[in-house]
């Protein structure tokens, strides 16, 4: 116990203290031989104090030294390789809650807000602008990348990309969290994601739609790389949809067949089902039970039809994507409409 305590106390955490060097006032290192005898007791005491006090309070970067907000904002644009104007970027990083808090603070101090305005604009307009651009572009990009994909799937993928979860992940990784001016700290996901959209909006006002769209492509759509797209869209009745699709294409109905099975009487049972239409294999998958396998095989068939199977081309990015012809307007085929027409036709057939 004692040994482990000592180990944890004076282990790797203090390895950096072990460097026998002193930093002089001039900022140069001066070598020093060995470790002084007091060092062990000193470090141990420091460590125990840290344990007593608990972890350091999370502070905003601006509370530390060397914080130059204007320089940071300038660097933000340069990091992304974009030319922002200072005003629009500053507006993009200013949240409504910050302005309200600031005004309240001034009112407390007895300063008249009307006579001495803050001169700040919040990012709600830019957010809205950015959201429209991003949303329109994501849908258009997906439609032109996957022309045979159902509209429902495109909407589902779009919703996933535009969710607070994804956008806040992107925002925090390009350093928006530190630059944001808002009252909540640590910043909430919704604030982060809105701020990212505001940055997109700011780029649009400064450099035009094309540039904003390429930012969305590089940062947001790139999140789809390596992702299972079929998992973002949950199909309730894949076999029914497959029947409707095949019917609309004038092909034979889907015919599930058991291809392979092992260990039926064990808990590790596995079945592989292939789905055939006109004696052509259109999808196959395994499952723990025959019903699961059939369901998954139908999903696999749909996946292959939509062009998102494992054997299909990956998404295009970079310069190739600039050449892509985007389809903003005409929507793709809707799965629901297909189902409805299929049901109607079935009814007609049964009546006649």
């Amino acid at each position: 116990m004692a040994a482990s305590l000592v180990r944890s106390t004076l282990g790797c955490q203090f390895a950096r203290f072990l460097r026998p060097s002193l930093i002089t006032a001039a900022g140069q290192t001066q070598s020093q031989r060995g470790v002084k005898r007091y060092m062990r007791a000193y470090l141990k005491e420091l460590y125990n104090r840290r344990l007593r006090v608990g972890p350091e309070k999370l502070r905003h970067r601006s509370e530390f030294m060397n914080w130059n907000y204007n320089a940071e904002i300038y660097a933000f644009g340069k990091r992304l390789g974009e030319e922002f104007s200072n005003d629009s970027l500053q507006a993009a990083f200013t949240h409504r809650s910050y302005i309200e808090a600031e005004e309240a603070r001034r009112a407390d101090l007895g300063i008249d807000v009307a006579s001495a305005p803050l001169g700040l604009t919040d990012n709600s307009e830019l957010t809205q602008k950015g959201e429209e651009t991003a949303s329109r572009y994501i849908k258009a990009y997906l439609r032109s990348s996957y022309p045979t994909m159902f509209e429902e799937a495109i909407v589902a993928i779009h919703d996933h990309l535009m969710s607070d979860d994804t956008l806040s992940h992107i925002a925090s990784h390009i350093g928006i969290g530190d630059l944001m001016l808002c009252s909540d700290f640590p910043p909430e996901e919704s604030t982060l994601s809105k701020n990212f959209l505001a940055v997109v909006g700011a780029l649009e006002t400064d450099k035009g739609v094309k540039r904003a769209e390429s930012l969305v492509r590089d940062l947001v759509l790139a999140q789809l790389v390596g992702k299972e797209l079929m998992e973002l869209w949950s199909v309730t009745n894949p076999m029914g949809l497959l029947m409707a699709v095949l019917d609309s294409q004038g092909r034979g109905p889907p015919e599930p067949r058991l291809q392979w099975q092992a260990g039926q009487r064990t808990i590790m049972a596995v079945y592989q089902v292939g789905i055939y239409s006109d004696k052509q294999l259109i999808g196959q998958s395994a499952g723990e039970r025959v019903t699961i396998a059939e369901d998954m095989a139908a999903q696999d068939a749909l996946q292959r039809m939509m062009g998102i199977g494992s054997g299909h081309m990956p998404l295009t990015f970079r310069t190739e994507a600039d050449k892509m012809e985007l389809r903003y307007d005409p929507k793709n085929i809707s799965a629901e409409e297909l189902m409805q027409t299929y049901e109607l036709r079935q009814k007609e057939n049964s009546v006649s």
């Binding site: 180990r7 004076l10 282990g11 072990l18 060995g34 470790v35 005898r37 060092m39």
Partner: protein, 145 residues
Amino acid sequence: MVFLTRILNIRARGPDPFWKRQFAKRLTWNFYGRRRNCHKLSLNYLRRALRYSTEYRSKLKTINMDNLFETRIAAGCAEHGVEYSPFIDTLRENNIVLDRKVLADLAIYEPRTFQSLCEVVKRSHAEIFNNNLNPSRRIFTKGML
């Protein structure tokens, strides 16, 4: 009598041995029994452990990994009715320069690519077999010369 120079005779104790022991402890914390807690006992075992680990890195790891790759490639080959050593030899003869690590990875993650490699090997074998069947290639008779 006052010895004014006595103070000069105090021996400096030198550095704290604690740090040196800590350094060893970082490597011996997972040993069994007293050799983990007693520094002096642990030293010999530490030396040996370091020697073993060096030896493993340079020799045994290579051998183990080679054996693993061979097993995996052989398993992949067996699925398509090819044996390991003719497979490797024929690939080399046909100037397909893939090492065994890559071949093993292909066998796992890209079974279709691996199948096509097996197909190459099979066709190459068939070609050699057919060439040898044709007597004109290896029998020279008086009339031919």
